[in-house]
């Protein structure tokens, strides 16, 4: 699910950086408040282990294929949501920087899609409520069932949210011609199956930890449940954030028509308001030299252009010259390579 840079427009990438950066800032603040310096090496070693652990292939019985572990849920169950989130950030950063798994600009989006949902939504809305509930009764076997349920539900839900975010971010970036509905239909079912397998693997690892060292897991000790009343506020807050992000994103995507004001002025019903008022879209607005210059600059530097074919009405000759020019650029690139090789050989000989 790692997104590459090419799948994002700069504005979307920047927005996701801001969102993930805010979550990281809050997590760092919380960890500083807790003042547990010994947690840093634990986070580092666990993150390194999860990084390596994600490379293990787990055989899925009867299918011949294999699955992987869900890092976000595992880390938040072991370290807590904030420490888990920061650990996931560094895992994603290392994957991006050293293995080209995800892009540098797409890191913000990847953190949001894989770390935020896995650690915060997975922990506050799934892991903690289930582990503190009385579902499946009392005792050790009930606790085991709760761990399995929380892991599987957590992985499925967080992967679904992550996959949906990938679709949303790619569609908002205007990268793909694939209709939004078809893209969603393509992504969600695949990640449902992946989520189920990842949930089973995560639950197997967490069950092993629970059997050997239950104190390492978050929310499994009865004394921790004193604070359960406070969790409702956090749940509501997180739900509100998720609703805002998903709802806001969806509403943006839904408006493939011009925005409300433009629609009201130029495209309202059969005869637009503009037409009723005798306005013409091309000649509407203030016409001045400064406005024209500003418009030209905006045209050149626009980070989210209207995705119209550039120079639509230019003659074919311009396009041909573009192709020839591109070939010439390739030639220049080859020349640079040849020159580089020549100078390196000369340096070696000396």
């Amino acid at each position: 699910m790692h997104m590459a840079d090419a799948l994002l427009a700069p504005a979307v990438a920047a927005t996701m950086y801001v969102a993930s950066g805010t979550a990281a800032g809050i997590s760092i603040h919380k960890l500083k408040q807790d003042d547990e310096p010994q947690k840093l090496p634990v986070m580092a070693v666990t993150a390194a282990l999860v990084f390596a652990g994600q490379m293990i292939n787990y055989t899925i019985p009867g299918t011949g294929s294999s699955g992987h572990m869900c890092g976000g849920m595992l880390l938040s169950a072991l370290l807590g949501p904030q420490a888990g989130f920061l650990s996931m950030i560094v895992i994603l950063a290392i994957q991006c920087l050293f293995f080209a798994d995800g892009g540098l600009m797409a890191l913000g989006a990847n953190i949001w899609n894989m770390a935020f949902y896995g650690c915060f939504v997975g922990y506050y809305l799934i892991w903690r409520p289930i582990m503190r509930s009385n579902w499946f009764g009392e005792g050790k076997s009930a606790q085991r069932t709760r761990i399995i349920a929380a892991s599987i539900i957590g992985c499925i839900v967080t992967l679904q949210l992550g996959a949906f975010s990938v679709v949303l971010e790619t569609s908002l970036s205007g990268i793909t011609e694939l209709p939004f509905g078809a893209f969603v239909a393509l992504m969600q079912p695949i990640h449902l199956a992946i989520g189920l397998v990842e949930g089973l693997i995560t639950s197997a690892v967490l069950l092993f930890v629970y059997e050997s060292r239950p104190e390492l897991l978050q929310c499994v000790n009865p004394e921790e449940s004193e604070t359960s009343k406070r969790s409702l506020k956090t749940v509501v807050a997180i739900l509100a954030v998720v609703a805002l992000v998903v709802g806001g994103g969806l509403s943006l995507l839904a408006s493939s028509n011009p925005d409300g004001l433009e629609w009201a002025l130029f495209g309202n019903a059969e005869e637009g308001y503009a037409e009723n008022m005798g306005l013409d879209e091309d000649n509407f607005g203030v016409s001045s030299k400064a406005a024209d210059t500003a418009g030209a600059i905006q045209e050149k530097t626009s980070f989210l252009p209207d995705y119209a074919f550039a120079d639509n009405d230019t003659p074919a000759g311009t396009t041909v010259s573009g192709i020839v020019g591109a070939a010439m650029v390739a030639g220049i690139a080859v020349l640079i390579c040849v020159a580089g090789g020549f100078f390196r050989k000369k340096k070696k000989a000396a």
Binding site: M3, A44, F51, Y307
Partner: protein
Amino acid sequence: MNKMQKAIRELAEMDEMAVRSSPVHALHPLSKLIATVIYILVTLSFDKYDLSGLVPMVLWPVLLFQLSGIEVRSCFYKLRIVLPLVMAVGLFNPFFDKTVVLQLGSLPVTGGVISMLTLMLKGVFCLMASFLLMATTPIDNLCAALRMLHVPKLLVTLLLLTYRYVGVMTEELAVMTDAYHLRAPGQKGIHISAWGSFLGQLLLRSMDRAQELYSSMLLRGYHQHFHYADIPPFRTRDALYMAGCALFFLLLRCVRIAQILGGTLVR
């Protein structure tokens, strides 16, 4: 060689490349980081049909590959991860956007094909830029640059520590995986009966190891302050490199170099 051993080799290769000496390696990590970010932003800002405008962006990575002496082969090896997803998304474009925008002889070229090619080139260019940054900058120097940008100390230290332990953990898991497969010949992955214990055992050992690591850090005088790499001061040449790169990218973004060059030959 299993997946983990390949990862260790890839990490070692990156580390080895990062400590070579070349004019690019000698630049300040901050200037390289900022130039890379600007390059990626400018590359991504091209319109999805602006293939001819995007192509000249290849010049910067090509120039850096030559100046740094880094092999392009290692970079293209990493494309195996990036390209499949980009292609999976881009491959739909020719099916949905069938507007013919260009006629190459008798071959019609649709908008979907152009946007697919643009998408793939963007993916390759951005990967080359990030790869060049990491292949010419050791992680310690990059972390020092991140601190200069006021990235929180906790996050930078965590990145550095995790990176140190990634090698250790991956090696340990590689040995465990080899041992497991030697005892279970012909088995594709880890059997369901060992799903929990395989990683769980290492996880528990790692938790203890983390405590030992913290104790050793305390013994060496750790007081929640980590010593980052001693990088040379930001010099005029670093500022010039950064400004030069930014200007060059802006030029490539605003001036249609390919069309101007092509125009000299085609009338």
